[in-house]
Symmetry: C2
Subunit: 749 residues, 2 copies
């Protein structure tokens, strides 16, 4: 009934569902459009959810974390599939640091004794229960420091820098203490890094039922959420410093690569950390004394959340075997018929923390089905004009190890040949989520208009637009009233695109459906086939939809005569970021003036409850007027060069001008290498591995992106000299980009 | 140490603390200023917290709800004090409907049986424990309907109209069902009224630990908050319809007054309702099925909050003895020496729901101490120029009964003679809170600058300003950067000022300190002397500060030659409200256009999870351009007449012009009766008892104020014809006000 209604409305609205738009797809001349769209339709029609289900079933019978037998088996299984489908397939092995737990202990010593179980109960009715009991890694945080510490406990909320400001107001520090932080709000490694920076000697991370336990819904297997002893494992490597093997920065971790000593590896944490369940956490919270935590810090445990810092004494021990283990990356190529040295890459990891039905297998099986469809097309005589490479990474979970080592190892070749990288990781029933480089925003938006949502038949673009129109913030709601195509998000970190985009400057996507098939299984023992099939995407329809989105994108990148980069969209977005930076500094200037006046007038103390301990904030460094001229000028130049390019391209198209293969090769090389111009080899301050001038994970957010990160973080950290320097770096990058676009325009004239 | 710092800063800032400003207080000529301030200082110096403590102790030994022996004893005790202090004292008795519980039963029938205890455990260590065990009323909601009902249970969050919109989206209605609502977000009677309007047959109200239980802090006696079985009692009379005895609207409930039949009393609820504890509530929540409640609906019980509406079956029985009981209002007069027929009224109620150390005794004992100080001043020869009347009300808790009946009974005399009414109710350690008529805003703001905060020595005005500067919303923070004097809030309902201000148009205040001495004792068995002394205001220093604020205000109103009404402040505030209304209608117009477009495009359905039941919202009536001209013109006229008045007043003052007693009498009568011009005898739509055109409790908020309520609620309810009518009523009132101010100005020229 609802579907009928939708279809009716769609007719009224003229919303396209798998109906080609009047305009040819970006990257294709009108004459090629029908053929390309027919190819994409054939691709989509070949996709079969039964394959996804079968492969998921087979790859999720046992735990398959990095270094496990099943991880190797899965790599071999995938390699075999590619080989059977006719791909030129190899398994590239790197040797990476991957600590395994040797000792894990956590006890409350005072005011009463309690020993944490540190054990996740296996749900006995799950079909993977026996394998889990036998092979699952226990809950731990990879790249925790070794340590055996005892000290007072402090609750630090999500453990991000602003949380420590709140503690400071209460006169509570964490020097020589152990912190307990709840998951959420940042990459988990940030919690440990910040705690150590503040002087903490140990760290506990726990899952509050508020976030993914009973507050959200029923516990697995009755519901999709965490039971009391479920624990989120995960890496705490300093991801925003750099991903990849901690011992081999900037180079592939080959067997004989030069390695740092572990104690010199700056992405390994310096303090011990353990993740625990809410059931293990509860006695610690009951024991905490001190001021009541602010309302936004309170979870859903039935108790008074307090900040501690006094008489609650905890003992924490975490020791590790610092093993070097092999990662098995499966690389499968289908050589391009015309431009074999232009590579379109498509990747997803295969390693999990435990069974990983959702993370990562739900992202991997659509990749496999896409690869199978490509091979079917190939059997019928089709060949991509450019080389398509499917990459199935190992060691993503500990820190994007497989992909990063591979990219570092093949950096020179990738710089020359990589057109774009399409990443997926996990997938679920829900709305399309796309992050990526804005040079390829329009391509994704066009494709999204052609892929129907599996349950409603509405295009995934229109479902997303509708959600933004109904649930978005004021700005989004306003924008989508007039904007017909979807926006893509800027990328931070947390999946395998990082080395491609942020280290080498390869235009990348990170794509997945999410938001409606939801649960608390992430990095637990119940991210299983049974859980996924019951709660996340039972029919794997959204897996097929993901294969369609990624397949069409890959096919367009592989076949376009002139690559579907949209510099107008890129220029608009980058100029938007520049505007944000100028507003940010203006707002900070005004806020700082007010803050300093309130400090001078002692307003903070006067406003505080006089019976409670309160340490007022201090004066802040005033915000000078910053010189954004270079950035504004570069932004303007970029806008102009982008407009010129697309004008010249349209003119060339409408004039029916034909380029030779050599000219096309050169033109497309200039186009896809535009993203490379945004790389500054000096890297970002204090983290030279991150080189992209527009996108980076926040130094103190981890997953969350900072756009024009050098400038933005310099402003946020109130480092005015660095702001000036970084404005120079970013402006130079934008001028390089504009120059390269102009060179491409030159070839079109 | 902190005090020293504050004093130092104060010196730097020149913040006045008990130091008279250069300008004379509003209402006084320069020549009279020193004498008045000296009088006020003498008053303040006489106040002694030991008296407050003693009286609180004596009045809180036993429960003293309306109709109880101890309530009568307390009235007699207070009357005796006034008599001893030389006041002309009488006890006026009215006879009001006050239901007492006959039967209370609440059970879960399905999916499993559970019988609610409906009992509040007495904290045995409290010194009032024995009296509580013997005399406390059980938890119930006065003016619940009689009823014995069985039906499915639905969770309705706080039970306000927007909550039912959320339920509607889930396809859940409450027709023939029993609702469970948590306390908070509105006057509790709204929850029942709205539930009944929506077709519910019964209502349960409970305290979630999120709001005043363990989520906030420790349970009494270890902490100030609710233990698991504590229950908030309270009235559910339809207060925003009208307060007072349900059977005698618009007239005093004298013994032989004409009475409505109970079934015709429209402020009595039509369905049965019971209040329960969180311990009693938990099994009901565990039994609820259906969709998971939205995040903002979730409390702190350790479970998944669900909306229900299906298989959870509840039986609720509530029956009452519909008694008529006597209320004992104690009225104590000190006759004015020059203007005996101009009355300054000061009131607080004496009845409690149980012991009521905080509510109401903490508000009453400062009133008594103020009255004692006045009597001391009188013994030394002072007399107020105007008559001062202290009113100690009975029956406030069931529905402002004592004060409303008294005001209705003496309406004609009060219209003529009442200058202003100063109300208090409860008091606690914290910041000064003042609501009131904006004609007397400046008076309160001036006084607040002279009263020091007991713990810091900073003026209570500066503590409040500092809190707004630090914690206020963006608008407040901005305003207080330049504004030196505090704003007062507009008044809704919930205490004894209602009949004075909103029925008769007597300028009123509602004053109390709050926000730092906090707990969960409200209307429970642990609102006791022990609890108050430990957690709320241990030294009763804030009680003394309240006596100072109210005392100085009373003294100025009693002694001013020209009453301290500030029409400029009033005009500015009212014009602010008019601006809000125009913006409200503009925003609603834009929002409605967008909403209707989203409805037409089926965006709500498309954005929703297709696997969940979802009923999209429907089209809304478009918002026409409304004619605010009359209101805008009246606002402008008011601004002009106010400016003219204060110019003429200043001119008369600086010219040293003396008015005769007769002229002063007439002028001041015009001034204080300005508030009467804001009364429209037709009253507000559907609730004619409420007659003030600027202030009323929201029809669907209860406590919360709606300013220019006739117009605002007509817009909110999208009743455009009524909006036009109400703009006319409000404009006429403002024109009357301007005209009366002009008449006063005439007397000054």
């Amino acid at each position: 009934m609802r579907f009928v209604l939708h279809s009716f409305v769609l007719l009224l609205l003229g919303v396209p569902v798998s109906v080609p738009a009047a305009e040819p797809p970006l990257g294709f001349a009108s004459s090629q459009a029908a053929q390309q769209l027919a190819l994409e339709d054939r691709h989509d029609a070949m996709l079969n959810s039964a394959n996804l289900k079968k492969w998921m079933r087979e790859m999720t019978t046992r735990p398959h974390h990095l270094g496990s037998p099943k991880a190797k088996e899965n790599a071999e299984y995938v390699a075999k599939l590619f080989q059977d489908w006719g791909y030129e397939t190899e398994t590239e092995v790197f040797h990476v640091l991957f600590p395994a737990p040797k000792a894990r202990e956590l006890s409350l010593l005072r005011p009463y004794p309690f020993k944490a179980s540190l054990t996740e109960r296996i749900v006995s009715t799950d079909s993977a229960a026996a394998a889990l009991e036998k092979e699952a890694l226990p809950p731990y945080n990879a790249y925790s420091g070794d340590g055996d510490v005892t000290g007072p406990l402090v609750y630090v909320n999500q453990g991000v820098p602003t949380d420590y400001e709140v503690l400071e107001r209460h006169g509570i520090d964490v020097k020589g203490k152990i912190v307990i932080a709840r998951y959420g709000g940042s990459w988990r490694g940030i919690k440990v890094k910040v705690a150590a920076e503040k002087g903490a000697i140990g760290c506990i991370i726990y899952n509050d039922p508020l976030d993914d336990g009973y507050a959200q819904g029923g516990a697995y297997p009755a519901g999709a959420y965490k039971h009391g002893t479920a624990v989120q494992r995960g890496s705490v490597v300093d991801l925003p410093m750099r991903p990849g093997d901690p011992l081999t920065p900037n180079r592939g971790a080959t067997k004989d690569a030069k390695r740092l000593r572990i104690e010199d590896a700056e992405t390994v944490m310096k303090i011990p950390v353990l993740p625990i369940s809410s059931v293990d956490a509860e006695p610690f919270f009951r024991a905490l004394d001190g001021p009541v935590a602010p309302a936004t810090w309170r979870g859903a445990l039935p108790l008074t959340y307090r900040l501690g810092g006094g008489k609650t004494i905890v003992h924490l021990k975490a020791e590790f075997h610092w093993n070097i283990v092999p990662t098995y990356n499966v690389i499968a190529r289908m050589k391009g018929s015309e431009f074999p040295d232009q590579w379109v890459l498509r990747g997803n990891h295969h390693d999990a923390w435990v069974i990983g039905a959702r993370d990562p297998i739900s992202g991997l099986v659509p990749l496999l089905e896409q690869a199978r469809a490509f091979s079917e097309l190939a059997k019928k005589g089709w060949r991509p004009r450019r080389t398509v490479i499917f990459c199935v990474w190992d060691g993503e979970e500990p820190g994007l190890l497989g992909s990063t080592e591979w990219v570092e190892h093949h950096a020179d070749e990738l710089r020359k040949k990589a057109v774009a990288y399409v990443n997926t990781d996990t997938n679920a029933r829900g709305l399309l989520g796309i992050g990526g480089a804005h040079s390829i925003e329009t391509l994704a938006a066009e494709v999204a208009q052609l892929v129907p949502d599996p349950l409603t038949g509405i295009s995934v673009s229109e479902r997303l637009r509708s959600a933004r129109l109904v649930h978005g913030d004021a700005e989004e709601r306003k924008e989508y009233l007039t904007r017909k195509s979807i926006r893509i998000n800027a990328l931070g970190s947390g999946s395998d695109y990082s080395a491609f985009l942020q280290h080498l400057g390869i235009a990348s996507y990170y794509i997945g459906f999410r938001g409606e098939g939801v649960g608390g299984e992430y990095h637990t023992c119940f991210d299983t086939f049974d859980h996924y099939s019951k709660y996340i995407d039972p029919e794997l329809g959204y897996g097929v939809a993901l294969a369609k989105v990624c397949g069409r994108i890959t096919l367009r990148l592989a076949n376009a005569d002139i690559l579907p980069f949209d510099f107008n969209a890129q220029a608009e977005t980058i100029n938007g970021y520049i505007g944000e930076l100028t507003r940010l500094s203006d707002e900070m200037r005004g806020d700082t003036e007010t803050h300093n006046r309130l400090v001078a007038e002692d307003r903070f103390s006067i406003a505080a409850d006089p019976t409670l301990k309160y340490i007022p904030p201090t004066r802040k460094d005033p915000v000078p007027h910053l010189n954004f001229a270079a950035l504004l000028n570069a932004g303007k130049k970029l806008t102009q060069s982008a407009a010129d390019f697309h004008k010249a391209l349209n003119h060339a198209r409408s004039a029916g001008r034909n380029l030779t293969t050599e000219q096309l090769t050169r033109l497309n090389q200039l186009i896809y290498q535009t993203e490379r111009t945004l790389i500054d080899k000096r890297g970002l301050p204090r983290r030279p591995w991150f080189r992209h001038q527009i996108y980076a994970p926040g130094f103190y957010t981890g997953y969350g992106v900072k756009t024009i990160p050098g400038v933005r973080e310099a402003i946020e950290e109130r480092n005015w000299q660095e702001t000036d320097e970084q404005i120079e770096h970013a402006s130079a990058a934008l001028n390089r980009l504009a120059g390269q676009i102009e060179s491409a325009t030159g070839l079109l004239r």
